[in-house]
Symmetry: none
Subunit: 183 residues, 4 copies
DNA sequence: CATGAATGAGTATTCATTCAT
DNA sequence: GATGAATGAATACTCATTCAT
């Protein structure tokens, strides 16, 4: 059921999605959802939390085989993008909610929880970036935000049948930051 | 009037904003707005278009004093960010709509116009990036998307009284891409 | 519920009737109506259809006892008028919608259905008139339209406590057409 | 201007017609109409009154050449129908309002004036019918209502390019009532 | 657990009307 | 006389939510 909700939220955004949309996607009626979740906002939050859980798990799993910090970062990005735009039927919807649902869509009483979840997820990248050997004086926080911004933007332009795979995108974006672009 | 609408749209998002909110912000009544714009969606589009116009103008103006391609890019980013998060009472709201309003907030009949506007704006950056002297084989399109993603993300974490000015952010982000981060 | 709607539509006309009027007459709230009928126009159409059903049934029932074609026509007219202006608490409102609601009150997307219903009802009279033994060369279609026009006009001048009963009106109108008025 | 209003009222009915529709048809703006008529209802009433004036004049004119009472009635009906459904660019719209606008469309404060106008017009037919040599005991009032109902119904089924001209309809309807239909 | 029916607080939109210019 | 702009009351319709069954 959470999955169906995720699918709908990702596709249409929180505001436009109605409880009936979700109900239809789950094969229930709107009223029944309230047995499981007390409100639409709570349902979204549950979807969001599950999304964080899954993407985090996927990214962590990608770190397993050891490697240089840059390699690990690149693998993490690959995993992240695969969740975002990949075709995995189960996971993709959850990850997509990350990007299609903006903070101000959330009911105010959930803002705090939302931020906690975001931070929790970004912690993974914080760790990865902190481990990178970088030039002295690099602003690692800004680097992280620069990277995450670029990653979250991918679903807005990514085309499943386009020339770039998530893996390729990860490789190129990593290289840009690693080696720079000046000849 | 467009300005007031922009302010409200940016602050609350399109879906949650009510015509009465906008009316209150303009000092009119809700009905009066319809004399000038035929629907809420059209109003949003008008705000968006005006935003594109202003940001484009600001970015173009920043290119005036000549310089190296990288300098010009950095100045463009600075201008872009100043519009996005700056305190200029007139311009900021328009630019913010860029980021706070997602495509699916728009009524479907405006999607086409929306894409045209986005493309129009991004053309400025395409030109700037095409002018950069880069390593052979660089995927300039991906670079542009990476940069724009990072820029559009800034308003989500930027704090007006924080330690980083738009100028500083622009300088650092540019340097990251220009010289890379490996020591 | 249809009955309450019919009562209100007949009394005030489609345009002026508000969903809240109907809701009040049914003991519900305006929103609840939409659970049963997707729009005001659909509700009107449902009322109209039910009206056709009832009037047709009443007219058909009146034909049962056999008789000459003219007797049958007269009985049909009586039944029709009793439905239109009679005090039967259940049926009258439905029949009244026939007359108080003009085609252009209907939303355009229902025009087709409306015409089909009208034709369905008038078919009863077509059959009755076709069975009449008439002078050679009589334009039976025009006769039918002449009759129906006269009948539909009755509710506009009928007074419940006036001197004429539906039965009397039917008898006189039939006689006029049957025997003519020349001495 | 009255003519333009008549055209719009006839085509769409009172309720659906907006002041802007009428304004557009007259080449003015909505506000300007209020210089000439104090309200939409008053405008409709003015149209209605002008309609009565013109139809009455046309019917009266048709009576000029002397003839038997039945001939005069038939000529009156012809004139009436020609005004209703004819192509005369000036007159037709006014007459049509007669039929397309039902009493309950009128604002209540005009009901009285409306009834007076209707009665005034029907007086012409009252006179004509009173002059007919009829069987003893004929209910002349009911006859008049029967006839007027049939006439008002004509615009609902009349097709300009159909087989029946107003003149033919008048002749046949008159004959039906005059001589009856029994062989 | 699930549903169908109902609710009521919104929401965009319409439109007759007003009025300063 | 005419207009553009504004008004505000009304209105159909939506939708998260409730709840008896």
């Amino acid at each position: 059921m959470l999955e169906a909700a995720a699918r709908v939220f990702r596709q249409k955004g929180y505001g436009i999605t109605t409880m009936r949309d979700i109900a239809a996607a789950t094969g229930m009626t709107a009223g029944s959802i309230y047995y499981h979740y007390p409100s639409k906002g709570d349902l979204l939050l549950a979807v969001y939390a599950e999304g964080v859980r899954r993407v985090t798990a996927a990214v962590q799993a990608a770190l397993e085989p050891d490697g240089t910090p840059w390699e690990k970062l690149q693998r993490a990005i690959t995993a992240h993008l695969q969740m975002m735009v990949g075709q995995a039927p189960g996971d993709a919807p959850f990850a997509g909610v990350f990007v299609q649902v903006l903070p101000h869509d959330f009911p105010p009483e959930h803002h705090e929880a939302l931020i906690a979840l975001r931070n929790g997820y970004e912690a993974t990248f914080r760790t990865l970036i902190d481990a990178l050997p970088l030039k002295r004086g690099t602003d690692r926080r800004l680097l992280r935000l620069q990277l995450i911004g670029a990653l979250n933007h991918v679903p807005q332009w990514y085309r499943p049948n386009g020339p770039r795979t998530p893996q390729a995108i990860a490789r190129v974006m990593t290289r840009h930051l690693q080696a720079g672009l000046e000849p």
